[in-house]
Symmetry: C2
Subunit: 257 residues, 2 copies
DNA sequence: CCTGACATTATGTGATCACATTTCCACCGT
DNA sequence: ACGGTGGAAATGTGATCACATAATGTCAGG
């Protein structure tokens, strides 16, 4: 059952968008296997568009591929998350610098509106809306950079972060949330201070990364480490590294529908 | 006729690698259309692997897609090249910083060998070999960063630069070539000075970019601008921007085989 | 209760075909 | 000579099938 605005689109495009949405919304979880016939049946399309869409996501690194060719929603390890954040901390400030050169007044007004929307959503304790406003704020700037290659890279980074983000969202909101100072960034952009705005964004990304790393339990640094520590002499909790191989035979979450 | 080391690989992987090689080697030129049946016939495979490989390259932004779905080798405009270089100048130094943390002695020795190979190739006036040694030197470091996501991004950047690179290669060699100070970078890495090595690489990328931008005529900044300037009052050569749309009906280079 | 081999199922790959659309080119009228 | 028009060739999309392989469950033996 295609949604209204999907009329006329190629089936492959529709399948791709739905899978993408499933990734960012958390409808599929890290570790889930996505088989060609499985998604084809789930989305009511034939195997061909499903295959193309899956391979496309894999090429964008939004999905991993087992050696057998099966697509799997990537598990974000602590190291992987750190790497992702490091790349974001380079590319997104670059986009801000590029955008600062040509931000028309209309865009600045729209950005101000998004800051206001964010604040309003926070007042209403609507974490999802606040988060959406933040995201729109940033991507409005990224689009203004008029750098299609860079924009595509940033989008794939966010896509890859998607699965994690959903599971952390509630936690972040409960902990008081990240306090993005987008108003200050907007001020810098108004002044044409691209470097300052970029520096603010970089700090924002780095702080959010530290916050999440301190709060979230990642794949791989799971209870195996604690079990090992418990078996060993108690007291010594330093230097305990979780061998990833130990968590291999953990039950994989099934997702039949 | 599959090459020896391609035995056992899926046809899609073989097709993908061949297309990739065709891109970086300059066997296909910017603006060339790559049709499914065309590459299938050229590479002796059926339409299916050809389709998959083309879509994969497109997802990696190594190929552009016309609205009709036909793949086309991207034309690199001046702005596009500047963007590509800006992204490289952020990501590749990041990889150097990450790699500096864990570079075993064996890798350092290998890097020294590559620097020597580069110098030897320069002595022999073998521009291709010197360039290959430079490339290997950098990617050895990037791989050592143990950041698969970042490495994948860097590879797609180089892939997209591929078509241009070939056409510029001879020019660069004739002009005396870029003098990459990889020996200094290796020294910095030996000292564990990751930041210094990263700064050296950034300067190298920025200088190479400036050099190429000063020497190369890109798609879009072609003679249309000059014709416009000639039509207008002579003398005023400032502010003449080449409208891209003017070069649209230029003859497209055919590439039947 | 666990471990191994075996049969069954699921899955990816590749091939081929039909169909709608786009692209290209020759032809014709002005 | 120029430009529009028609049709033929080329092209992408999607569907379906066959085949090899990987994954899974089963069952007998320890």
């Amino acid at each position: 059952m295609p949604s209204p605005e999907e009329q006329g689109l190629p089936l492959e495009e529709m399948t791709y968008r739905r899978l993408r949405e499933a990734l960012v919304s958390g409808a599929v979880l890290p570790g889930d296997r996505l088989s060609i016939r499985g998604v084809a049946a789930s989305l009511g399309v034939s195997a061909m568009p499903a295959r193309t869409a899956l391979r496309r996501l894999a090429a964008e690194q939004a999905l991993d591929m087992l050696p057998s060719g099966t697509a799997v929603v990537p598990r974000l390890t602590r190291a992987g998350f750190a790497e992702l954040s490091a790349v974001r901390a380079e590319l997104e400030p670059l986009a801000v610098r590029l955008a600062a050169a040509h931000l028309p007044e209309a865009d600045l007004a729209e950005l101000a509106g998004l800051v206001a929307a964010h604040d309003a959503a926070r007042e209403a304790a609507d974490a999802d809306a606040a988060q959406a406003a933040d995201r729109d704020f940033l991507f409005r700037i990224y689009r203004a950079a008029q750098a299609p290659l860079l924009l595509g890279l940033i989008e794939t980074l966010w896509l890859r972060r998607g699965p994690l983000f959903r599971s952390v969202g509630a936690l972040v909101a409960a902990s008081g949330g990240l306090r993005h100072n987008h108003a200050a960034m907007l001020d810098a952009l108004r002044r044409g201070a691209g470097e300052a705005a970029a520096a603010l964004l970089r700090r924002e990304i780095e702080e959010a990364t530290r916050f999440i790393q301190s709060k979230v339990r990642f794949e791989g640094d799971d209870t195996a480490a604690e079990r090992l520590a418990a078996i060993g002499r108690a007291g010594r909790n330093a230097e305990v590294r979780a061998p990833v191989s130990l968590s291999l035979h953990r039950r994989r979450t099934k997702r039949p529908e």
